[in-house]
Symmetry: C2
């Protein structure tokens, strides 16, 4: 069957090498004669997987010994709760930047545990830009931001100089480019975009952030427990961490500098066509355009269904915009090839000609 | 390569049909041309998986409309927190039966949220039996028990008549036999034993139990949120639910009555050999012997390593007892075939003869 070009927003396209390794491991994991999903998570063969995945994160983010790396469950959404539960004392205030639905959910959850100061928001313009001029109060417990807004297609290319520990949800652009991790006290990401399949969540935590709250934290929600147990306090999401490890191997084989060039090339190609093509237009502030999620619309919205049909006939999949914004969205995570973006550009040009 | 007999305690042996379906879906999921782990969890093809898995649970447990079924993340360990968070008001008391390490962890977590009354405990004899004579206070918010104790090899074959809602952790014997679900207000289980791979957790909740606490519950930890969103409040553990759905299909194809006969036959075969063989002895009260996890020791512990070597040479895997009890443990979940138990019995007889 012909190749499907996968522009899904997440779960999303993964490198072929990681999928092939998963299929092989489901048949016979690491020479055990058993399937990956039938072996003990405490077998030496599987412990090696978690160890390597952890090590690859440390290498790719160039982390020093001040940081701990754990794989958790529950997605970024559970982190919205665990972060204030672990780092925000009752009566104290945390600063949040509101750049989209997920950022806003993080704000809401922090409110269960302490006070929240929303330092800036782009909700006034349906999150079509990243606020730039805001002040992070020096007495906040931490500052929380979202580096890439999957639904709206905006991305932070610069981060503020924060006077307090900076925590970033990098779910949808982690490992898409080099990051100066030393600027952050915590980085976290649901795996299911640039890093692996659904089912595991990465958390990178600077040690001095731990043990800063006075409340009693339930065991499974306490970062220290997961750190002390090397992501194995209870049975981890075995398969998801395995695929993530192989995806990280693939990312390392390319390198983050090369990955950024690759992702920039894809984004440049598509944004150039959006700006050139008389049928389409972009929806977000040009300087904040995400390289991961490209949001655009047809100038004549009544032609949308027709364009989606054309896309389908060209095996272009996953291009429908999120229900809260409509239009089109092309998600172009690490594993998406330039040829897939070219196929989309070709379809846009064909559509324009057909209407000329 | 010769077949490995998989006696792992969990993650554990799964039906071949579920593993084959997973391999096929990693190559091309439901005719999409994409891998199972690359498609949107909101695609109609994947939503059908979650719907069918939910429906199969309802059928197998014969649930009426009083019950809701959800698939969550975080294992049974996160349920130890979510249960008291959702059902135990501060200042109120919940009753717990302490039959093992996992039950004790559940007790500890409940203490973060309210008072705990441990109605009975078998900790005095290293959890080698199930306490029988205890009183569940009529003013408790709920009664919590653990139907099968994986580490110790004990199983509850009868449940008390509880004057308050009964909540049961069935992680290691769910779907191994018919259960009268109407006796329970809640049943939950980490998937990675009888039901699927690691990464998803089943919760079956009677609706009248919901909304009984006054505390504010963080969104991701509120059962109502997951129920209202059909297990899709955020991205679920896609792969794990897929394999679980196929495992449930296989369980249904056999039927729970037949499954019980099959599991009883395996357990009878092994316990009979333990009792007959002069080299071995069982470690738990005969009437509480689990059909899922068979714990036993060598009368001469110094021969243990030698017996493990023999097991290995016969491709008998995963027989080491949990580090907290030592000895041997044969986990014989649904998917383990009688021939694997026979292979273990043969090895035990061979060992006895070699020492005669």
């Amino acid at each position: 069957m012909s190749k499907v070009h996968n522009f899904s927003a997440g779960p999303a396209i993964l490198p072929a090498s990681a999928i092939e390794a998963s299929i092989q491991a489901l048949q016979n994991f690491s020479g055990t004669g058993l399937s990956l999903i039938e072996v003990s998570h405490r077998s030496k063969e599987y412990e090696a997987v978690v160890t390597e995945a952890t090590q690859l994160v440390k290498e790719l983010l160039n982390l020093n010994d001040d940081y701990e790396v754990v794989f958790l469950q529950g997605g970024a959404s559970l982190q919205f709760d665990m972060i204030p539960m672990n780092f925000l004392n009752e009566g104290k205030t945390a600063a949040y930047l509101n750049t989209g639905v997920w950022a806003k959910r993080a704000v809401k959850e922090a409110g269960f545990f302490g006070n929240v100061n929303v330092v800036a928001s782009s909700e006034d313009k349906n999150y079509s830009y990243i606020p730039k001029d805001y002040v992070i109060p020096a007495d906040a417990e931490y500052f929380h931001c979202t580096s890439n807004n999957t639904i709206y297609g905006t991305e932070m290319f610069e981060f503020p100089e924060s006077p307090v520990p900076m925590i970033c949800d990098m779910s949808s652009d982690i490992f898409s480019k080099p990051v100066d991790a030393s600027k952050f006290a915590m980085i976290y990401a649901g795996a299911q975009k640039n890093m692996g399949p659904a089912g595991t969540t990465l958390a990178v935590i600077r040690k001095d952030l731990l043990a800063t709250v006075t409340r009693k934290i339930p065991t499974m929600l306490d970062y220290r427990v997961h750190i002390e147990n090397g992501s194995m306090y209870n049975t981890p999401s075995v398969f998801a961490i395995f695929v993530t490890m192989h995806t990280l191997r693939w990312i390392k084989s390319i390198g983050l500098e090369a990955m950024e060039i690759r992702n920039k090339e894809k984004a440049d190609l598509l944004y150039a066509e959006i700006d050139r093509n008389s049928m389409f237009k972009g929806t977000v502030a040009v300087e904040d355009r995400s390289r991961m999620n490209v949001n655009f619309v047809l100038n004549d919205a009544s032609l949308e269904d027709e364009f989606f049909k054309l896309c389908k006939s060209h095996n272009l999949s996953g291009l429908k915009g999120h229900r809260s914004v409509g239009g089109l969205r092309a998600s172009m995570y690490n594993a998406l090839e330039l040829e897939s973006v070219q196929a989309l550009v070709n379809a846009m040009q064909e559509f324009e000609k057909s209407k000329a």
